[in-house]
């Protein structure tokens, strides 16, 4: 059975940029382990003739035609920006910038 120990929870939390206290890590490690165990039970009844699925809906190919529609007005686009300059979102210097 796959396990989700405290170290693993800490690693995933760091990747997701979630800052957890020691107490939270302890609690979540326990809770998540219960979830993993529950999912494991499902695997027990999923025999090889049950196809793997990544989506609960029995649908495929939900697509739209390639027809452009009006974009958002610039004022609406920037309404949620902390600051802007020249129509662009302005944020703190991006550290370790790739380009």
């Amino acid at each position: 059975m796959p396990t989700l120990d405290r170290n693993e929870v800490a690693r995933v939390a760091a990747l997701a940029r979630i800052d957890l206290t020691d107490a939270e890590l302890d609690r979540l490690a326990d809770e998540l382990q219960v979830i993993v165990a529950s999912v494991e039970k499902v695997s027990e009844v999923a025999t090889p003739d049950v196809p793997a699925t990544s989506h609960p809906l029995p649908l495929v190919n939900t697509m739209r035609a390639d027809v452009p529609e009006a974009p958002l007005a610039i004022a609406d686009v920037l309404a949620g920006a902390p600051e802007s300059e020249d129509g662009k979102f302005l944020g703190p210097q991006i550290l370790g910038e790739d380009a």
């Binding site: 190919n61 958002l72 610039i74 686009v77 979102f89 944020g91 790739d98």
Partner: protein, 503 residues
């Protein structure tokens, strides 16, 4: 992270001691009208943030819907690269934190790409054909664009900050990943370049992208590793990101081979990392240490249902594929009767399309090739422009040749007429007219010149009279000179012999 001077081994020494393995990831922006997952217009060069929708911005509650044309384009690309098209595939979230992706994840494909297991034959400049194995081609969305504003230019009290434009966020991309490319040896840089160039030509032929390198429509990440021998396990690789011109791709591979050889020679080991290529110096420098793919915490995209392209649709797309560039080149070469080397020169000079148009305008293929690869290639080279940028059209060249073929001008006059066209004096016929370039075959005008030439060279006349026709050329030369090259040489010869005979 800057590096001090990078130690390098001369390229030839490096390839003598190590076997180069490369791998290339190419991103191509699809030329759909709207974005991958929302109907915001997919445009280039517009004002910042004027082509975005709630989906491009990752606003809460905004849901993606797949663009059918993007899927079709991806299938076209997959088929052109001899790939299998997946019967069913899905999208996945690639999670990372960077302001160019406001959702904090990019919708991509991970374990189930739409196309996989293909190959592409790449022709090098000397005609050698090299097969590149394609691992996969998958659909994803492009990210926005960050601009870093430096301290001195910054408006907030000299602070450094970043600006983000999301117009590009959500433009459909297909990423094409090769298997490790082995066996190229010292030609690896050339293979890398030719591969991307071949892909670019295919994208254009398929009409899935304008594929303009300078606009970043096609971007390449180049993986390079060295190993002591072709049967040794792969060495540690580096990935040089976003190399955006054909020449840079070649230079980046060469540089990495020289650099990695120096590291290995010194007993060190190559660090697995992302590197950046610098156009100005031709060097790569260290970027971030490559995170393993697990760090992206890929998982199936819950907001999208799987894609299951029907076999009928795939076959329909296959049947509608245009002739691909390599097949077209083979067909044209055989139609035109060009030798392999002639055809290669034409292709390498980027003159293929313009010769096609010139032939379509009525010129014989050999003549079209002669003008574009000779006189005009030279002029373009002198002016530092592409053939298509010269003020001469395929129709002009066809017209020029038709004047030659009709005997109205000879080759020398044709070159003068072409100069006139290049100088903006009009069409070849107009230039012939205005510059008075037409061949003189009128006997009256020619006879005067012939008589003058004969009178000037009595010794030559004697020789001809005594049965030696060799010196006739000297008289013809004099006549041509006197008529500024405009005499009809064949007629002059006849007249000379006639006059000498009469005497």
């Amino acid at each position: 992270m800057t590096e001090t001077t990078t130690a390098l081994v001369p390229y030839e020494d490096a390839t003598a001691r190590y076997d180069t393995v490369i791998g290339i990831e190419v991103h191509v922006e699809l030329g759909t009208r709207s974005k991958m997952f929302c109907p915001a217009p997919a445009v280039f060069g517009e004002e910042a943030n004027t082509s975005v929708s709630p989906v491009s911005l990752g606003l809460p509650g905004a849901l993606p819907v797949v663009n059918e044309a993007a899927v079709e384009y991806a299938i076209r690309i997959g088929l052109a690269l001899n790939c299998e098209i997946a019967e069913t595939c899905r999208f996945a979230r690639k999670n990372y934190f960077y302001p160019d992706i406001p959702k904090n994840y990019q919708i991509s494909q991970y374990d189930e790409p739409i196309a996989h297991d293909g190959w592409l034959d790449v022709e090098l400049e000397d005609g050698t054909v090299f097969r590149v194995e394609i691992e996969r081609a998958h659909l994803e969305e492009d990210a926005g664009k960050n601009t870093h504003v430096g301290g001195s230019a910054g408006r907030i009290h000299g602070a450094e900050y970043s600006l983000v434009d999301y117009n590009r966020a959500g433009i459909p991309l297909v990423e094409i990943v090769t298997r490790p490319i082995t066996g190229a040896g010292e030609r690896a840089p050339e293979v890398a370049r030719a591969y991307v160039q071949t892909l670019r030509d295919i994208f254009r032929a398929l009409e899935v992208s304008e594929a303009r390198m300078e606009r970043g429509n096609v971007r390449a990440d180049v993986n390079v590793s060295l190993r002591p021998a072709p049967d040794a396990p792969f060495g540690t690789r580096t990935e040089t990101k976003n190399v955006n011109s054909f020449r840079s791709i070649e230079r980046a591979v060469r540089f990495e081979v020289s650099r990695q050889a120096a590291v290995l020679d010194a007993g060190g080991s190559v660090t697995q990392e992302t590197r950046h290529f610098h156009e100005d110096t031709g060097e790569t420098t260290s970027g971030r240490v490559k995170s393993d793919s697990e760090d992206y915490r890929y998982f199936p995209e819950p907001d999208l249902v799987p894609l299951a392209p029907s076999r009928e649709w795939v076959e329909e797309i296959r049947a509608s594929l245009p002739e691909l560039p390599a097949a077209r080149r083979r067909r044209l070469q055989s139609e035109w009767g060009f030798a392999d080397s002639q055809m290669r020169d034409v292709v390498n000079a980027g003159a293929l399309d313009i010769i096609v148009e010139t032939v379509a305008a009525g010129a014989p293929p050999a003549a079209a090739r002669k003008w574009w690869m000779g006189e005009l290639a030279r002029t373009a080279n002198e002016r530092g422009v592409a053939l298509a940028e010269l003020p001469v059209t395929p129709a002009h060249v066809a017209e020029l040749q038709s004047l030659v073929d009709a005997g109205r001008i000879n080759d020398k006059l044709a070159r003068q007429a072409l100069e006139g066209v290049l100088a903006g004096e009009g069409t070849p016929s107009q230039v012939v007219e205005s510059r008075g370039l037409e061949v003189v075959s009128d006997d009256g005008a020619l006879l005067a010149a012939v008589d003058e030439a004969l009178a000037a060279q009595p010794d030559v006349v004697e020789k001809i009279r005594s049965g030696n026709q060799g010196p006739v050329g000297a008289i013809i030369g004099a006549v041509m000179k006197a008529t500024r090259g405009q005499a009809d040489a064949a007629r002059v010869r006849e007249l000379v012999l006639q006059r000498v005979g009469e005497g």
